[in-house]
Symmetry: D2
Subunit: 259 residues, 4 copies
C-alpha cells in the first residue's frame, strides 16, 4: 500500500542551539520511498548520521533563531506480517550478540518491575503467544490519555496508572517482554490510522530470528506502518532533541493512504 507523509515543524530559539532530528522514513525491503523531500531554512548545514542499529537516518544541525522544516514522502509498504502465535522465543543464551542489549533495562523500561506480574498473569505462555497476550492485556486495561504522562514517565509508572500515550503503551510491552527474556525495543513510526495524527511509537520483539512489530494501542497495523528509527526506548528515537531551549510555533504530522 502507498502511504503519504507530510511533517511540518516550525520553532524559534533565542540563542543558537544544536538539534538532532529524526523524522524521515527508513528505507528497507518492507518500505520503499517512491519520493521524499526534506526542505528547511537555507542556512542550516545538516550532518546526516545513521540511526541506531543502522536503521534510518538522523540529522544534526545548528539552528539560529528560526527552524522551519517540511518533510514530504510517499512510501510503499509491503511488510509480510507473521502471526505472533506462530513465533518461538530464542533461548537467551543463543541470541545474536547484537540483540543482547535489548534485554537490558533502559531509561524508561525496567524489566525487573514485571518479574512478578508477568508469570502470574500470563502463566506458562511463551514466545509470540505470550507477546500477543501481553499486548492484548495492555490494550484492554489501559486508557489512552495524553495528560497522563510526560518525559519522565517510565513503564513502571504507566503500568501503575494504566494510562498513557503510544510510547507508554510500547514501554510497558517492552518492559514485560524483557522480563520474560524476550528482547524488545521501540520503533518510532508513522501510521495512517493514528488518531489524532502525530508521531507514533510501537514495540518490536525479537522472535524466530527476526524483529516483529507489535502495537499495543491497536492503532496501527504492522502492514501499514512506516518506520523512522529504532532504539532501546523513547530516549533513543525522539523526533527532535535540542541542546538549548526552542519554542514551538507549529508542529503537524499528516499521514494518509493514497487511493
Amino acid at each position: 500500500m502507498l502511504i503519504s507523509i507530510k511533517t511540518h515543524l516550525s520553532y524559534t530559539t533565542a540563542t543558537s542551539c544544536s538539534l538532532l532530528l529524526q523524522i524521515e522514513a527508513a528505507q528497507d525491503i518492507a518500505q520503499v520511498c517512491e519520493s521524499s523531500h526534506f526542505t528547511t531554512n537555507k542556512d542550516i548545514y545538516w550532518n546526516i548520521i545513521p540511526g541506531e542499529e543502522n536503521i534510518g537516518l538522523r540529522r544534526w544541525g545548528r539552528i539560529e533563531q528560526t527552524f522551519e522544516c517540511v518533510y514530504e514522502a510517499k512510501v510503499r509498504v509491503q511488510r509480510p506480517v507473521s502471526d505472533l502465535a506462530d513465533l518461538a522465543a530464542h533461548d537467551v543464551t543463543q541470541l545474536p550478540s547484537d540483540v543482547t542489549k535489548f534485554l537490558m533495562p533502559s531509561r524508561y523500561c525496567f524489566p525487573e518491575a514485571f518479574l512478578g506480574f508477568v508469570p502470574e498473569q500470563f502463566g506458562s505462555l511463551a514466545g509470540g503467544a505470550l507477546i500477543a497476550q501481553m499486548s492484548d492485556w495492555i490494550r484492554e486495561n489501559f486508557t489512552y490519555d495524553i495528560c497522563a504522562s510526560n518525559a519522565l514517565t517510565t513503564a513502571t509508572d504507566s503500568f501503575q496508572a494504566q494510562r498513557g500515550v503510544c510510547r507508554d503503551y510500547a514501554h510497558v510491552l517492552i518492559g514485560m517482554a524483557r522480563s520474560a527474556g524476550i528482547p524488545a525495543r521501540i520503533a518510532s513510526v508513522y501510521g495512517p490510522a493514528v488518531n489524532p495524527q502525530d508521531f507514533h511509537a510501537v514495540a518490536e520483539v525479537f522472535l524466530d530470528g527476526a524483529w516483529h512489530i507489535v502495537d499495543p494501542t491497536g492503532m496501527a497495523h504492522p502492514s501499514e506502518i512506516v518506520r523512522i528509527g529504532v532504539g532501546r526506548d523513547a530516549a533513543d528515537v525522539s523526533f527532535m532533541t535540542s541542546y538549548g531551549w526552542m519554542e514551538m510555533k507549529k508542529q503537524s504530522v499528516d499521514v494518509s493512504f493514497i487511493a
Copy 2:
C-alpha cells in the same frame, strides 16, 4: 605495570537458569593479558559473545544446581593518560555516529536532572576542564557508603543523597557530562587500589576524538585500571545477570600489583 587478578564466584540455584557473565579483562593496546585462565564446572557450555561496543567479551551459560567459576589473569597495563584539562569537547553535531547514543538518557543516568546544576556550579567551563571539576566536586561532596544505594538507585537519587558506591559516583558523572553535551559511558573494571576489593566501575568521557577514563571516587588511576567492558550505565555491564534465582555462596575479587 603488571596486575594480577583473581575472581572467584560460587552460586547455587534450585532450578536451572541462564546466566550472562562479564568478568574477564578486555584486550587492547593499553592492557595486554600475559596469562588468563577461566575455569568453571565441567558441565557448562559457554557461548562467548562480544561485549557492548565490541569491547571485551561476555559468556552465556546454562546453570544446573551449582555454578563455580575462577578467573585468574596477569595483565600488563600501559595506558597513556592525558591531562583532562587539555582535552577539548566536540561540537555535538560533529560526533562520530556511533558515539551519539552516549548522549542519551539511560537506565540510571538522566542528563535532564543536571541541566540546572551544571551551569550554575561550573559556570563557563567546558571540555576536559569541566569534566575534571565535575569529578572533583563529586569526590569532595560525596560519602562512600555501601548501604546508600541498590539496584534501583539512579544518578538523580545519588545526587540528592550525595552518597553511594563506585557505580553511583560514575552514574552522577555520566549524567552531568551528558547534560553538558559530552558523551559519557560506564566501564566495569578491576583496580588494584580499590578498597574493599571488589568489581569496580568508572566513567568514560568522549573528548578530542577518544574515550578517556575518569574515576570520581579517586580509588583507581587510569594508568592502573584493567577494563572488563563498557556500556551506557551499570545496566549494561553487570558482572553477572541471571534469568532465574541464584544464591551466592562465595564471591571474591583480588587485584594486586606484581612487584
Copy 3:
C-alpha cells in the same frame, strides 16, 4: 539433527609467530552447541574476538615451537530451509546498509568477470530461481579436483578451468551472484557428508531479507551444515592464518551424525 565435530591441528614453528584461528562452531538459533571443548598447549594465551559480521569467534595467540589443538563439539542443527525458487531479490537501492559490502569485488570474487556470461546463460531469471540455476550449472559443469587450485586462484580462474575445490565452487557462485546485483558471501562450515572430510566452504546469498546457504558442490545440505564464520570470500575465513612460517604435523577434521 545432532552433529559431532572433532578437529585436530598440530604444527611446529622455528620462530615464535602469531596465529589467528577460526575453527569453532558459531552459535545461533539454527545451531546450538550441546557441548564444546577447545584444548591447546598450556602456554598459549588466546585473545578471543568476534568473527566478521559478529558471527562466531576467532582466537589470536602467540605460538612458540609447537602448536597443538583439539576442538570437539556436539551441535544440534535445526535450520529451516527455504526453497530458493520462492525467494525474491532486493532492489539494490533498498538493501540494508550493512549488506552493501557483499556486492563489491573481493580478493577472490570479481563480479565483473561474469557480467557477460550470467545474462547470456541464465536469461531473464532473477532472485532465488537465478541462484538455484547458477548453483546447478556449477555443479554440473565443474570437476572437483584438489590439484586444480591454490591460494592465488580466483573465481575468474576457476570459472575458466571449470575445476577446483569447495571454496572455488563457492567463489564462482559468489562472483556470479554479485554480478547480478545479489549480495553474496562465503561461509566456512563443517558438513557431515563432506568427502573427504575437511573444513568446508559454501556460499550465502541475501534474498528476501535474510542470508541463505547454498552449496554448489552439492556435498552439504543447508539443514545439516554447522557454520564457523562468514566473510567476503576465503580470505576472511581461513581456519588458520599465521604471521610466520609453520610446518604442519597433523590436521584432521571428523564430522558425523550422532544417531
Copy 4:
C-alpha cells in the same frame, strides 16, 4: 584551513539503472562542513546509507536517461598530524576486533605479494618508521602515469610496473603494510593540491590505537585532506558504481583553499 569543493557529474543512460554514489565529505572532528549542497535531477529519490565503517555516507538512486549532480561544500580541516616515525605498531594479537579485517587480502591488495620484498628492502624497521620508508620508496621509484592502470590492476601489478595513479600508489602501500602485520585501508579524499584535479585516494594505517593518513604520491598532506569514505581498497570507495551502462558527459572536480 578552509577548503572549497565543487564536483560536477553528468551522465546519460539508455536504460534505467541503479547507482551508488559516494562523493560527499565525511563529517568528523578533523573536518567540519561549514556548508554543503547536493543538487541533482528532481526525479531521483536518494536512499542515504552510511559508508563503510560508518564513516561518511553513500547514496543509492535509480536513474532514468540522465543523471546530473552538483556537489558544493566548504570544509574546515583541522587534523592533528603525528610524525609517523613516532608511532608504534600493535602486536597483531592485540588489535581491536573491528580492525582485523584490514590485515586480510582484498580485491586489489594481496599482502602475500610483498612477503619477500618488504623485509629485504626495509630490514628491521617497524611501525610508523617502516610505513614512512615504504611510502618514500613508492614515491621515489614510481612514475605517475594515468595510462598504466585500469579497473583490473592490482597492487601486485602496479608494483611490477612501478607506475600508476593515486589509487595504485595507495594499493601498493596497503599491500606492503598488511604484509608486515600493519592494518591498512584506502580513503577516498579530496585534496586541494592534487594535480590534475580529480577524486584522490590515499592509504590509512592503524598505529598506536588510531588510523593515520599516508599519501605515497606526496600530492596531498594529511593536514589538508578532506575524507569522503574508507574501505578495504578502491573496490569499496568508488565515487560511482552503476548497475547498468552509463555514458559520461561531464565529470569535474575542483578543490581549492579559501584564502
